[in-house]
């Protein structure tokens, strides 16, 4: 089919038997976007010369990191045996933090393409997304990508996949997104294998909101999957969950740019713009129906995502607080999983305590806040939610160390996760050691293939959000992959470690850690801060304390000399520019009392790592002895 070909199946008038809706499940870097781009090109809706590299990933951050955050839904024509079919391709995120978003995309599909890099094999997160797709009863089409690479081990990984989903090795398709090989077979298979939607075309309209995106020109763009009935472009629509009614400004499909249409019918995927700019007006998981002829029952709703990780976000310049609120409101529209409420820190001023799905989610949100909204932020060390019961029996939910109750504690309950780790077998020992260090309890272990194993652990979530993933990667030369999901809770012996700078407790540095680790945490944080905080005109003591007991201490000696550079041959301009630059740098520091603290110090707690040098080990031992 060429780009000039007229599409016969018109939106709003396409029979469900000609529709196939699918998503692609893949790990980061396994080539999903390349394959998706190739599909767009083969279908003729974009030509090669106008094919932007990785067309579907629209956001800069996604392109840079090679990951997709937001799903997009593209309408793609494909002809088999002279019949034109309409494929709804829904792009899905591939990272562990975005399980929730994947589930929304899955609910809008009848089938899923399982895309696996032929050089690397399946990864832990792909596996959990695959299981989720199977739970949704989706038809799975297994595909190996990157078969053009010399390092591809297609037979080996085809066998691995066949074992996993219980299909024949010959059912595993082999494609190359780069060269295009096998992609048209894949499209044929999508048509033949994936069932057509089975909605009731004559029933009152019901459409599932699976995503919504804020566009600064158009307001909210809401992505929907029509289940039953149809919507016409001029009909008033009703959001069943919120109970609101809107005049739609535009109804349309994406192919591959936004195209307004007169209608959307059962089985089709498209978008609706209502013109509302208020972020709370488009709730993901809600059901849209026709206002004049309302459906009786909403579609089964989505689960609201539960934040797994909390952190404080504070503008360096407190005057930016209202801007931060506005920015979060806008991001929230794109990101149903983000939650936030105002927070005040003695050290950092006004900010928000935010709940995230995981560390990557947190990183992406803060990066978007700084890049898209120009905000200069400090983010505090991440925290998981604890249930702390005091001796008097009162229960506190603690999502922030500053909420940790003073005085005697009866019990602390922390959230647990079930962690699945896939690793080449030679790293089994290192992974076991790492998990043990992180209070993990080993469950079973299975060989996926003679070379690779999947290990199951039960671990405190707090151990994972700290620096577990980085350490896992470094101990396995980057080969291991990790997935985790909630798995109840346990009570644990946890304490709050405070950090004091010049004798003043800095709430932003307080952390809740296991008692066994509190000494090393205290020693390493104080050492790290000593490195990160520049010397100032006076001596700065840095201490770590549990309650009133000091467990570690470092001192930043007073600065004795700053630049005494000669102004070469009267180059006074250079000196002035240097001073001005230095000043600009200082403005990015946070004043804690009278101490200037660089932003990096606030994320230092994320990377306290392991004690390697002698001094650190000695100090940790000394602190433990003193207890």
């Amino acid at each position: 089919m060429s780009a000039n070909t007229v599409q016969h199946n018109q939106p709003g008038a396409t029979d469900q038997s000609l529709i196939r809706n699918f998503c692609i499940i893949a790990h980061i870097d396994h080539g999903k976007s390349t394959v998706a781009d190739r599909i767009l090109q083969l279908s003729g809706i974009i030509e090669e010369r106008e094919m932007r590299d990785r067309f579907l990933d629209r956001m800069d951050i996604e392109q840079e990191r090679g990951i997709t955050i937001k799903s997009q839904a593209v309408r793609v024509p494909w002809t088999v045996d002279g019949t034109e079919y309409t494929l709804g391709m829904i792009d899905t995120p591939g990272h562990v933090d975005f399980t929730y978003e994947v589930s929304r995309a899955l609910a809008a599909c009848e089938g899923a393409v399982l895309l696996v890099d032929a050089t690397q094999g399946i990864e832990a997160q792909t596996l959990s997304n695959l299981y989720m797709a199977m739970d949704h009863d989706l038809t799975i089409i297994p595909v190996l990508n990157k078969i053009d690479l010399p390092s591809a081990e297609s037979d080996k990984h085809a066998e691995e996949i066949a074992n996993l989903i219980g299909c024949d090795i010959s059912d595993v398709l082999r494609v190359s997104g780069k060269t295009g090989e096998g992609v048209s077979d894949l499209l044929d298979r999508i048509v033949t294998d994936i069932p057509a939607p089975q909605g009731d075309p004559t029933a009152p309209a019901r459409a599932l909101i699976f995503d919504s995106v804020y566009d600064s020109y158009r307001g909210i763009v809401t992505y929907i999957r029509m289940i039953d009935g149809s919507l016409q472009s001029r009909q008033r629509i009703h959001m069943m969950g919120l109970g609101t009614t809107h005049e739609p400004i535009e109804l349309g499909v994406i192919s591959p740019e936004m195209q307004p249409t007169k209608a959307l019918a059962a089985g089709e995927v498209g978008y609706v713009i209502t013109g509302v700019k208020d972020v709370s007006q488009s709730k993901v998981g809600d059901t849209i129906t026709e206002d004049a002829r309302r459906a009786q029952e909403p579609l089964p709703g989505y689960q609201d995502p539960q934040p797994m990780v909390y952190a404080g976000l504070f503008p360096i310049d407190n005057a930016q607080f209202p801007e931060l609120r506005e920015a979060l409101d806008k991001l929230k529209l794109n990101d149903a999983a983000l939650i936030y409420e105002p927070e005040t820190s003695v050290a950092l001023g006004f900010g928000f305590r935010c709940g995230f799905l995981g560390l990557l989610h947190m990183e992406i949100v803060s990066e978007r806040l700084s890049r898209e909204f120009g905000l200069d932020l400090i983010s505090t060390a991440p925290n998981v939610p604890y249930e702390v019961t005091g001796e008097d029996g009162t229960m506190h939910r603690v999502t922030n160390p500053s909420e940790f109750p003073e005085g005697k504690i009866k019990s602390i309950v922390e959230p647990m996760v079930a962690a699945d780790i896939i690793t080449p077998k030679e790293f089994i020992g290192s992974v076991m050691e790492l998990c043990q260090d992180h209070r993990g309890i080993m469950g079973t272990m299975e060989y996926l293939s003679p070379e690779r194993v999947e290990m199951h652990y039960r671990m405190p979530l707090a151990e994972i959000v700290f620096d577990f993933f980085d350490q896992l990667k470094s101990r396995t030369k980057g080969y291991a992959s990790l997935d985790y999901h909630e798995d109840g809770e346990q009570s644990a012996d946890l304490v709050k470690v405070d950090i004091l700078i010049q004798g003043d407790r800095v709430d932003a540095f307080s952390a809740i850690v296991h008692r066994d680790k509190s000494y090393s945490y205290g020693v390493m944080m104080t050492k790290k801060l000593r490195e990160l905080i520049p010397r100032q005109q006076f001596e700065i003591p840095i201490q770590a304390a549990i309650g009133s007991r000091i467990i570690a201490r470092e001192t930043i000696r007073a600065l004795r000399k700053d630049v005494l550079a000669k102004c070469y041959g009267g180059d006074i301009t250079r000196k002035r520019k240097l001073l001005e630059k230095q000043k600009a740098g200082k403005k990015r520091m946070k004043m804690l009392g009278h101490v200037e603290v660089p932003q990096e110090a606030f994320i230092a707690a994320l990377n306290t790592g392991e004690a390697t040098d002698r001094d650190t080990k000695d100090k940790i031992r000394a602190a433990q002895k003193a207890s």
Partner: protein, 453 residues
């Protein structure tokens, strides 16, 4: 306003490993730029400067000071140096008591050459001694010996030239005793002027590379602070007083040329990469403040001069804000100190007395009351501000809070600006030794206090 001329001679026998100055070792750089033709081109350059000054309406009188720097000016024949000085005399005129200095590498000049310089009108010579310790000199790639330096100083004295030596501290491998040895050696020479500079590691130099590769230890700020305190104590005890952060002299022997830089005077910068500065009021009463520097490489420099074009490569017209920053930055480097009324006038804001008290309390500056009356426009500023202060004392106090130890105990010297204003005399802030070592900190606090940063 005094007027100075700086002439940059961009030639060296070899490049020292720490040096990133604009200097070249080739004899002939092409395009008419060579050691042999340098003086001719530089003379033409002076004429171009003079023409430019006239076009701009900058009236500069006879020259107060001339300074030949480099590079190694003494690589030029003595006659060339003298004819360049002749050029200055014929183009701008030279005051009878003008100070005329050349830098000299002890390797490249002898007693005879020094005598001829004195006869030719030079009054002062500054020797690049750097150190008296052989292993330190080696690390610095310096080829002269302590004996050379001694011969040179003797020669200068015999010729009637004022003389100075430059020292460098903080060279990798230099111990505190090495440094004491060097300072003592300089004192033993009987010089009346010593400059001591902390070694600045420039990333583009050989030394910068060696340090990056870990082949040489990195200079340490604390070590350099110790060495600064050593040289300051040893020199002050011997009667050489500091008059600029890195310069000490027997009173009366200060380098006037050097001071003119810090007093923000005017000077013409002649030669490749040379910087110049003018601040003047034009016929319409408008103030202009110009800093610029000449083309760096001698060849394009010579080509432009040959074409009759003033070889300026970069220039900056300073606005009020930049000027005020410079007033603070320059004034706080010298013993004369920062004139508070100059700063206040430039910044358009009063320096709050709490800030002065804090700086004094932190032992960063001392306050000197002068007998210079406060100008009416600055008095007006104080009166306006006093009103403001009494209206919103707290807001004002907040603006003056700093990153220093906060104790609010009263200091014996807590000057009251308005009291001084009533007395009608300007005060000056003079950096203490600690304030010299932490000069950037002092500048930072002062600039912040008058709303510049």
């Amino acid at each position: 306003m005094p007027f100075s001329v700086y002439i940059h001679v961009p030639f060296c026998m070899r490049r020292c490993g720490y040096c990133d100055f604009n200097t070249y070792t080739a004899l002939d750089l092409g395009g008419g730029a060579s050691r042999a033709t340098f003086a001719q081109v530089a003379l033409r350059d002076m004429q171009l400067h003079r023409r430019w000054q006239e076009e701009q309406g900058i009236a500069v009188g006879p020259v107060d000071t001339v300074f030949f720097g480099g590079g190694t000016p003494t690589l030029l024949p003595v006659d060339d140096l003298i004819s360049l000085l002749g050029g200055v005399r014929s183009i701008w005129g030279l005051k009878p008591d003008a100070e005329v200095t050349t830098e000299a590498n002890p390797d490249t000049i002898d007693a005879d050459g020094l005598a001829r310089l004195a006869d030719g009108g030079f009054t002062r010579v500054s020797f690049g001694m750097q150190s008296a310790v052989p292993h330190v000199l080696r690390t610095l790639d310096r080829t002269h010996t302590p004996a050379n330096v001694e011969a040179c100083v003797r020669g200068a004295r015999r010729a009637g030239l004022r003389h100075s030596v430059d020292l460098i501290y903080g060279t990798p491998g230099e111990s505190l005793d090495d440094w004491r040895t060097s300072v003592q050696a300089a004192l033993d020479l009987g010089v009346e002027h010593i400059s001591a500079y902390a070694l600045a590691i420039e990333p583009t130099t050989k030394m910068g590379r060696l340090i990056r590769q870990g082949k040489l230890p990195k200079p340490d700020d604390d070590d350099e602070a110790n060495k600064y305190e050593i040289v300051d104590s040893m020199l002050e005890q011997t009667g050489l007083s500091w008059y600029e952060v890195s310069n000490w002299a027997v009173p009366g022997q200060e380098s006037q040329h050097n001071l003119n830089y810090w007093r923000n005077s005017d000077w013409a910068g002649i030669g490749p990469g040379a910087h110049g500065h003018y601040r003047w009021t034009d016929a319409h009463g408008e103030i202009h403040d110009w800093r610029g520097s000449e083309v760096l490489h001698p060849r394009p420099w010579a080509v432009q001069v040959a074409q009759g074009k003033l070889p300026v490569a970069s220039q900056e017209w300073l606005d009020d804000h930049a000027h005020a920053e410079e007033v603070a930055m320059l004034g706080l480097r010298i013993r004369e100190g920062l004139s508070v009324q100059d700063l206040e006038e430039a910044a358009g804001r009063v320096l709050p007395q709490q800030v002065i008290a804090r700086l004094v309390h932190d032992d960063l500056v001392t306050v000197r009351v002068t007998d210079t009356p406060i100008r009416p426009e600055v008095l007006a500023l104080h009166q306006a501000q006093d009103k403001h202060v009494s209206m919103s004392q707290t807001e004002y106090g907040a603006a003056a809070s700093f990153s220093t130890s906060t104790s609010s105990k009263p200091h014996p010297f807590a000057p009251d600006n308005s009291a001084i204003a009533q007395q009608g005399y300007d005060i000056r802030l003079v950096p203490t030794r600690k304030g010299r070592l932490l000069n950037d900190t002092v500048i930072d606090q002062v600039c912040q206090a008058v709303g510049l940063w």
